[in-house]
């Protein structure tokens, strides 16, 4: 009598190719889904950039207040939380680093460590993660719900381009907000870090501390910081808008789309970060 599938052992199933086929089917489906998502995201990015440029002067009375609203939501409203995180970052990372460097008499390397850790890495990443958690997820829920309730078709019925009305303000607002938040975060973190070191009695004068930072920073740091934060903002806004708008979701699917968007954004940010690390290594 032949065995049922549940009675069959792993080795037997492997030999028969069931496991292999099952795994390859699973991986294949995942790969196809990934490629489809990449194609969709690229298409949305290109369309959004094209619409932003082509409709630069269209309906400014409607679109500009919406950009300001996004800037407020993703920037100004997050300043208190960002201040708290910057303070914590300063105390936990910078303060302790200063203490350790001082212990080994390596205070002269403080500037390099600060610029590398805070300015190039943690600052932009932390600001982007904060915006993703507080605004990016809300984006998916809002747009997914609007799509599920048919509001996108209602916009089209009024001759309003949904990309221009729903996506462009979010992309511009979030990109600028992450840039601005990162600048504040870096400044607050560096100040609170020095405060911690000062309170711990590290023999480092403020003038020396900031001189080290100024000597380590190069003009490319400012350019790359701007590019990186803008890239993070565009990535988060495009991915969250895509997850909310690409398919007409049912209300119960909105939460799944939100968690999927967070996963994609984090992976995308790490990949973008890796690209910027390579650029930093080349300059």
């Amino acid at each position: 009598m032949s065995k049922t599938l549940s009675e069959e052992g792993f080795t037997e199933r492997w030999t028969r190719g069931v496991v292999y086929r099952g795994s390859s089917n699973y991986l294949g489906k995942k790969l196809i889904r990934l490629l489809e998502d990449l194609r969709g995201l690229s298409a949305l990015l290109v369309i959004t950039l094209a619409v932003s440029l082509r409709k630069l002067h269209t309906a400014r009375a409607v679109i500009h207040p919406m950009i300001r609203r996004q800037l407020t939501r993703a920037g100004l409203d997050l300043l208190p939380m960002m201040g708290f995180l910057a303070f914590a970052l300063g105390l936990v990372v910078i303060g302790q680093t200063t203490l350790i460097l001082n212990r080994y008499g390596a205070q002269n390397y403080l500037g390099i460590v600060m610029v590398t850790v805070v300015v190039r890495e943690l600052g932009p990443m932390l600001a982007a993660l904060l915006v993703l958690a507080r605004v990016g997820t809300a984006n998916v829920v809002e747009l997914g719900t609007a799509r599920a309730l048919g509001e996108v078709e209602a916009l089209e019925a009024l001759g309003i381009d949904p990309i221009h009305y729903l996506v462009v303000p979010r992309v511009i607002g979030m990109a600028l907000a992450i840039f601005a938040l990162t600048v504040y975060l870096i400044v607050f973190a560096l100040l609170s870090g020095y405060l911690f070191a000062f309170l711990e009695g590290v023999p480092l004068l403020p003038g020396d501390y900031f001189r080290q930072l100024a000597n380590t920073l190069i003009w490319q740091d400012f350019v790359l910081l701007a590019l990186k934060t803008l890239a993070f903002g565009i990535l988060i806004s495009v991915v969250t808008c895509y997850q909310g708008l690409a398919q007409r979701l049912r209300i119960e699917e909105v939460s799944r789309a939100t968690t999927s968007a967070v996963g994609k954004c984090v992976i995308g940010m790490v990949l973008l970060d890796a690209i910027f690390i390579i650029i930093y290594m080349l300059i």
Binding site: V62, E153, A157, L158, G159
Partner: protein
């Protein structure tokens, strides 16, 4: 082509296969339908027959799976954006249920949105026009309410007021009056009759109306022409219809 020529039909659908908005599955095949300017059509069919998909397709909101849809003589689906927007502004669409009111905007902002977007003006600049539309649709006292506070009998009127904002020549209505209290349903039927006759407050021009319903009896004597979706087929019933009761 001069699309303002009154001899050109408002809507002309030729051999159109209508696809579902959700699944892209073909719901109706071979729809041939011409709507002349100023006509008042009532489209009947049971729940799930494809009325919404048909209306959205002939209104240019859904791409037909096959065939041609001309709005004021122009293929709208593949039209250039400028022409598409010009033709789109001549058509209004009132969605069924809550009218798909934008939930983050007030009633007045919902109505002003299309005006402000297309004319690049502020809410204040459009306020007189918005007030006139709200008065016409009986929404003046509810201008600052949102979807959360507005009663369900009033929500579809916001969809109507919003559709009228751009002064359309053709108005599609998906099951207007359905599920409303008798008083509101009567208001809808009377208001549409006024629009069809050329209401002074709507500019005095006879508006072309296409309303979908699952209850023909309610519309007895209201429309001028009747169409029916039965057994996945589109049929033009004509003028002197014996109103079939739709199961």
């Amino acid at each position: 082509m001069d699309t303002t020529n009154s001899n050109i039909p408002a809507i002309a659908a030729t051999d159109v296969d209508v696809a579902s908005t959700w699944s892209q599955r073909v719901r109706l095949r071979g729809v041939n339908w011409t709507v002349q300017r100023g006509e008042y059509w009532v489209v009947g069919g049971p729940h799930g027959a494809g009325k919404t998909d048909l209306l959205m397709t002939v209104a240019g909101l859904n791409r037909p799976a096959a065939g041609s849809v001309r709005i004021f003589g122009r293929e709208i689906v593949n039209a250039a954006e400028k022409e598409f927007l010009e033709q789109r502004a001549r058509i209004g669409f009132v969605f069924k249920g809550g009218g798909r009111m934008f939930t983050d905007l007030t009633v007045a902002e919902n109505v002003a949105l299309a005006i402000c977007y297309h004319r690049n003006c502020s809410l204040e600049d459009a306020s007189a026009e918005v007030a006139s539309i709200l008065e016409m649709t009986g929404l003046s006292s509810r201008a600052s309410e949102t979807a959360q506070t507005l009663g369900s009998d009033w929500l579809p009127r916001v969809g109507l007021a919003r559709a009228l904002a751009l002064k359309p020549e053709v108005l599609f209505l998906d099951e207007p009056g359905a599920g409303l209290a008798a008083r509101h349903r009567e208001w809808w039927l009377n208001f549409l009759a006024q629009l069809s006759a050329g209401a002074p407050q709507a500019g005095g021009r006879k508006m072309t109306l296409i309303a979908a319903t699952n209850d023909f009896a309610l519309w007895s004597g209201r429309g001028q022409l009747y169409g029916l979706i039965k057994d996945k087929q589109w049929q033009v019933v004509g003028e002197a219809a014996e109103f079939p009761q739709i199961e």
